[in-house]
Amino acid sequence: MSNVILKARSVHKTYTMGKAEVRVLRGASLEAQAGEFLVVTGASGSGKSTLLHILGGLDIPDQGAVEFEGHDVFAQSQMARNTYRNRQVGFVFQFYHLLPELNVLENILMPKLVSHSALSWLTGRGQAKLEAMDLLDRVGLRERAGHRPNELSGGERQRVALARALINRPALLLADEPTGNLDEKKGADILDLLSEFNEAGQTIVMVTHDARVAARAHRRIELVGGAIQSKRDGSPSVADSDSQPTHALS
């Protein structure tokens, strides 16, 4: 039975740069199954990040639709999209994007802080901290909870970013070149972690231009010229990986 969690239909996006219009996405479509590890590959400038931003509700498509669990993300109010980004989606970026004034634990708790009022935080912060420490355990940084981002290596920062993305137990993890700024060893560590979370049921959509990284996914699709490279029947191409999700969402 199909268990599609995310569906993008014919997404178009054009940016205006000065007087020139750059058509980044030209009818890109894709589907992701719950628990799937999907990789979108493509050359630099092919629109991978733009697609990822649109899937996560950070950017708005000019045309087309994105459905999450059957609901059109962009038919919802701005407030509902904010909640979507906070509760249903976790972002991991190439450059980590941690807040430099906060320590590791505080950075991880930030999505929780966004979703709590001052009053509810008073009652819920104990539990939130426990969850954050548990995640820190899983990414192997428990001892670094009080450190600032500038005291961590690139790999450690990315692990913190991963923990932050997962603190609200989102159904969907969107990763934008998460190993792009790391050396091979550290990149592999991050991929191991992603695989580990995926095996625990986490749906992951990752964009990368690195074929070796892409090989870790269940399925790979390629973005070429702003559209998913299609097969002859017009449906999105399947990944060249044989692996398929073998588990449901936890």
Partner: protein
């Protein structure tokens, strides 16, 4: 929750925020100091003005005075016994104050008062120097010069009545420090000339061998404004150069009832220095000389004069001072007295001489507030103006805060993108910067209130310190500002208002940058490096 959390974190980790806090601190401190000093100045003007004369004053505004003051005084006491406690006439004129022994001369405002009544009508008693330490010994009647002698042990002693009076003060005085200060300052006794012991030689002041007492010809006493006669020390006290009872004199210029100079030579009136008075208002303390009403009325020719037709003219006074009972509404009392005066004048105008008619019709009934209104209104306007000017300067701080927040938003663009990526709304991000500005405002206000209050509480010490370094740095001149010390009271209400306005201003200053922060497009922000 993240708004408060991040605002607080930014506040104590971002150096740039400290500039914002510093600008708010300085503005709050500055406005608080100005408000406190000017407000204190205004309050002092009010409170001192209240205790200067009496609650209600009838005054023609003419130097030659107005007649029937005594008759109206009796009438008002009879007609309004529930309202009026006491009436007392007063004369004011101008003359020359002189100390014959030193040829020291000063222009003086002569006030003729009935001292016993006058002291019941206002707070003058509090400012009398000798009356404080020797209660009951200051009067404006005939008196000699008190001199100190020596007892069998060789200790200096005053006359019996002065000793008793001082003993009474010691018994009644609750402030122990005050007694200690009195004993520590030998100048008090030194103000009384001494009977020199016979075995030393000269006995210029001696009444008898080593006996304290009084010497010299009897003359009317005079109370002199403390700034007219004495030198002000930097600690606010005075150095007294003349002994109590020293011969002084005033020269008067009598006027006819029509206000002309009588044609007689100016009248020189010898007096004895009985005490000095300190109201705390420089204009008064540097000019005023208090003399017995009946005595000065006679000397100025304002008493009842024999007329060529065998009759008598009506005695004149410049003011009729009216004291009212406690709890009586001042304005209501003034209205009642005004009405009574209107009726009284109506009956008198028929038989009054034409020369007296005009001053009589010009008499107005004023409360102490009415009398001091020009001064109070001027100070009020000055307070508003100065506060406004400093508030205007504070607008610069708001603009500065706006610039600081523009820079912060610019610097935090990537963080804004991150916050939006994890679900923060545009309004929430804008709110974060507003909360940040609020935190800057609150911190700056608290620091500003602390520094400002500390400054105001110690403002006189600070001025003394600066004046010790360089006399040119003494900015508070009693000659200009009336009072000998700078007011040093911070009102809670002022502090709360200043702090509240500072916080609101900080928030206002951040609104535009905060709005722009809210509008930051997250995708662009995340690409921002």
């Amino acid at each position: 929750m993240y708004k408060w959390f991040l605002a607080w974190r930014y506040l104590h980790t971002k150096l740039i925020a400290l500039f914002g806090v510093a600008s708010v601190t300085l503005c709050v401190a500055m406005v608080l100091v100005v408000l406190s000093v000017m407000g204190g100045f205004l309050d002092t003007v009010r409170s001192r003005s209240k205790g200067l004369h009496s609650q209600i004053v009838l005054d023609s505004g003419f130097l030659q005075g107005f007649p029937y003051y005594a008759e109206f005084g009796e009438l008002v006491e009879e007609e309004l016994p529930e309202v009026v406690k006491l009436t007392s006439p007063a004369i004011y004129s101008y003359g020359i104050f002189r100390v014959p022994a030193t040829s020291y001369t000063k222009p003086a405002r002569i006030l003729g008062v009935r001292l016993d009544e006058y002291l019941q009508l206002n707070e003058m008693r509090k400012g009398l120097h000798y009356e404080r330490y020797y209660p009951g010994t200051t009067h404006l009647g005939m008196q000699q010069m008190p001199v100190a002698g020596f007892d069998a042990n060789g200790d200096m002693q005053l006359a019996q009545d002065l000793r008793e009076a001082n003993k009474k003060w010691r018994q009644d005085e609750k402030d122990v420090d005050s007694i200690a200060n009195f004993d520590a300052e030998p100048f008090e006794l030194s103000m009384y000339p001494k009977v020199v012991p016979t075995n030393v030689g000269s006995r210029a002041f001696a009444l008898g061998p080593e006996e304290p007492g009084y010497i010299g010809r009897e003359k009317h006493g005079v109370i002199v404004g403390c700034d007219l006669l004495n030198s002000r020390r930097s600690d606010g006290n005075f150095d007294r150069h003349l002994a109590r009872g020293t011969d002084v004199a005033i020269t008067l210029l009598p006027l006819t009832s029509r206000g002309n100079v009588t044609g007689e030579p100016p009248v020189r009136v010898p007096l004895r220095y009985a005490d000095d008075s300190r109201t705390g208002i420089f204009e008064i303390d540097s000019m005023s000389v208090y003399v017995d009403f009946d005595f000065v009325q006679h000397k100025l020719g304002m008493d009842a004069q024999d007329l060529v037709d065998g009759g008598k003219s009506d005695a004149r006074a410049n003011q009729l001072l009216v004291g009212i009972h406690d709890g009586v509404d001042l304005d209501e009392a003034a209205a009642q007295i005004r009405e009574l005066w209107a009726g009284f004048v109506e009956t008198k105008l028929m038989d009054v001489s034409p020369t007296d008619r005009y001053p009589l019709t010009e008499v107005s009934v004023m409360t102490w507030e009415d009398m001091q209104r020009p001064l109070i209104a001027a100070v009020e306007k000055e307070k508003i103006l100065v506060t406004f000017l400093f508030a205007l300067i504070s607008i610069v701080a708001i603009v500065l805060l706006g610039c600081i927040f523009f820079m912060i938003v610019e610097k935090k663009t990537r963080d804004i993108g991150i916050m939006k990526a994890i679900g923060a709304s545009s309004r929430g991000v804008a709110g974060l910067f507003v909360a940040y500005a609020g935190a800057v405002g609150v911190t700056g206000s608290i620091l500003g209130l602390f520094i400002g209050s500390l400054f105001v509480w110690n403002i006189n010490d600070i001025q003394d310190f600066l004046a010790n370094l360089n006399p040119q740095l003494r900015v508070w001149s009693p000659e200009i500002y009336s009072f000998d010390t700078i007011p040093e009271v911070v009102k809670k209400a002022d502090a709360i208002w200043v702090a509240a306005i500072a916080v609101v201003s900080s928030i206002v200053g951040s609104l535009i940058p905060a709005t722009l922060a809210g509008r930051v497009w997250p995708v662009q922000a995340l690409r921002y490096e």
